[in-house]
């Protein structure tokens, strides 16, 4: 029994490396999307200390808007541009209506406000686009279908072209974002604001401008995630649930760290898949993916309360 649980799975991995790679690849693709969502959280948290509960619904809202616009007869790429415009208007509105009046309030109040935004967006989305499931317009956007079959060690490894596209696009987006944050003045302003508000004001950084910018970037990330996830699983309000997968990612990676969000996302994506296939299905009746990430995060928190990459909290006594 103990052997079955502790040793046998690794023997399985070693004897069928092609299947192991397949599982790892599937996990990687989910992980990339978790990382993207977590990145949205981290950006907003770093620049405004707000834990943005609405990140998940922004994914749904962006995807719904895109599909909805296309259903009204707007050509696919113009619909993408219009959706970006909508996300920008959303960022401006949130800053103006929600954040600005609440500047300087305790964090928990701002957090509650983002729950309010979540509920509002759910209502707005259902009113405008209806609550039924929709199909992502992947074909119109030129997202390739089909697959490539590799045969490592005489085995079988199937890579969906959709998944490859998702990984490539997400990698480009993250690389671009990192370059923007690290090597441009605007990027420095965003990082600066997260470190010290007063100092940021004294060098001429406007809170309002940066907040709009950051929420807009979070909106862009939401749209990309929405398209990718929508193409895999359809567009519905259930998509919001994947945003909660970002929570254990954040616990692992820490709320402050961009690297943490990326590594945490990939780790959770791959580990939960491996656990499901090699342990969950044979021993626990499957469907472990819904809770594995949270348990993993809790175990990590026991040993490193600040997460794997978070800033160490040193209390001065």
């Amino acid at each position: 029994m103990l052997y079955d649980f502790l040793i046998q799975p690794f023997v399985d991995m070693a004897t069928a490396p092609d299947f192991f790679l397949q599982v790892l690849w599937e996990g990687l693709v989910s992980g990339v999307l978790y990382a993207l969502i977590a990145l949205g959280f981290v950006l907003i948290f770093r620049s405004s200390r707000i834990f943005n509960f609405a990140q998940g619904i922004m994914v749904v809202f962006a995807a719904l808007t895109l599909v909805g616009l296309h259903a009204m007869g707007v050509p696919a790429w113009i619909a993408v541009a219009l959706t970006l415009a909508v996300m920008f208007v959303l960022a401006v509105t949130i800053e103006r209506v929600v954040l600005r009046p609440l500047v300087g309030q305790p964090d928990i109040i701002l957090f509650m406000a983002t729950i309010g935004i979540t509920l509002f967006l759910i209502g707005l989305g259902e009113t405008i686009f209806g609550g039924e499931n929709k199909v992502m317009i992947s074909e119109e956007l030129g997202i390739p279908t089909g697959d490539t079959v590799l045969e490592p060690w005489g085995g079988l490894l199937i890579l969906q072209h959709l998944d490859i596209t998702v990984v490539v696009v997400a990698t480009l987006l993250v690389a671009g974002l990192l370059a923007f944050l690290n090597y441009t003045q605007m990027g420095r302003a965003i990082r600066a604001l997260g470190d010290d508000h007063q100092a940021a004001l004294s060098v001429g950084i406007s809170l309002q401008t940066i907040w709009v910018l950051v929420w807009f970037i979070a909106g862009i990330i939401a749209l990309v995630t929405g398209i990718a996830w929508g193409a895999r699983a359809g567009v519905s309000f259930a998509l919001e649930v994947i945003a909660y997968k970002a929570l254990p990612v954040l616990m692992l990676g820490g709320l402050e760290s961009i690297t943490g969000a990326i590594v945490g996302g990939l780790m959770i994506g791959m580990l939960e898949k491996l656990f499901e296939i090699y342990w969950g299905q044979p021993f626990l009746g499957g469907n472990t993916e819904t809770w594995f990430a949270f348990v993993l995060a809790l175990i990590v928190l026991l040993f490193r309360p600040q997460g794997l990459f978070g800033e160490r909290i040193i209390e001065r006594v």
Partner: protein, 272 residues
């Protein structure tokens, strides 16, 4: 009293220009507390102007009024000859007023170089999209900023820590990085809030030298708050003395030193 348009010549022979900033009858209240009580003074182009006074005299409040962090309850601020409307701190910064803080406000997670680069934000003209795509104006600007920043870094002798995250630096160096960030903005008015606070003698001497050099080399107008009387008297051209929110003296260091009210305030004569 000096005429507002004409300058004067300092004891060491430097020529000081006309009025850069003028505070007129500034009063600042927090509820029932009067932090600043009807104070007027001016800061002239090219001079080093000090604001001194015992603890709780209202010096820092005055600096915060100048830099836009506080809005005065009464009174007016004139900058470069025209009345300044009510402004947010970042708008004041963009008008060419740079500052440092008493308790050091740096971006701890960023490197020294990145910190100093943020000082150039007031000179940013390219848009978000040009920056995101890294072409044209944004790129030229970044190069130009980098060059100016390197010059400031050389000037303040912090080349060897350029890539170090600020959080790891000792106190004295942090103060210098903060000065570098303010200088990178090429300000027309540089505000220093207790630049020597908490420093040892050697660090104080370094800082004094840098302040004098900045003023000398770039002709930057400097207004500073300081506790250390010795330092103030050596550094500054003119001194405003505050006590309990009121102005009790204004003049050259020698004039102020002989002022009976100032002596009383510092030696602690009972107020009745």
């Amino acid at each position: 009293m000096l005429d507002s348009s004409e300058g004067y010549t300092t004891a060491d022979g430097r020529q000081i220009g006309g009025v850069l900033m003028e505070m007129k009858n500034i009063t600042l209240r927090f509820g029932g507390v009067v932090a600043i009580n009807d104070i007027s003074f001016d800061i002239r182009e090219g001079e080093i102007r000090a604001i001194i006074g015992p603890n709780g005299a209202g010096k820092s409040s005055m600096l915060n009024v100048i830099s836009g962090f506080y809005t005065p309850s009464e009174g007016e601020v004139f900058y470069k000859g025209s009345k300044r409307p009510q402004m947010k701190p970042f708008e004041v910064a963009r008008m060419g007023v740079a500052r440092t803080f008493q308790n050091i406000a740096l971006f701890e997670g960023m490197t020294v170089l990145d910190n100093v680069m943020t000082g150039r934000l007031t000179h940013m003209h390219s848009g978000v999209f040009s920056q995101a795509l890294w072409f044209g104006r944004a790129r030229d600007e970044e190069m130009d900023n980098r060059e100016k920043v390197e010059r400031v870094i050389d000037f303040l002798e912090i080349q060897n820590i350029r890539k170090t995250p600020v959080g790891r630096l000792p106190y004295g160096l942090k103060k210098r990085v903060e000065l570098a960030r303010a200088l990178a903005a090429e300000p027309s008015l540089l505000l220093l809030d207790e630049p020597m606070a908490g420093m040892n003698v050697e660090e104080k001497e370094d800082m004094s030298r840098f302040i004098l050099d900045v003023n000398d080399e770039f002709g930057t107008t400097i207004a500073l708050i300081e506790h250390d009387m010795g330092v103030v008297m050596d550094l500054s051209d003119r001194v405003v003395v505050m006590d309990y929110g009121k102005k009790i003296g204004d003049g050259t260091p020698d004039e102020v030193r002989g002022n009976q009210d100032v002596i009383d305030a510092y030696l602690g004569v009972s107020h009745d």
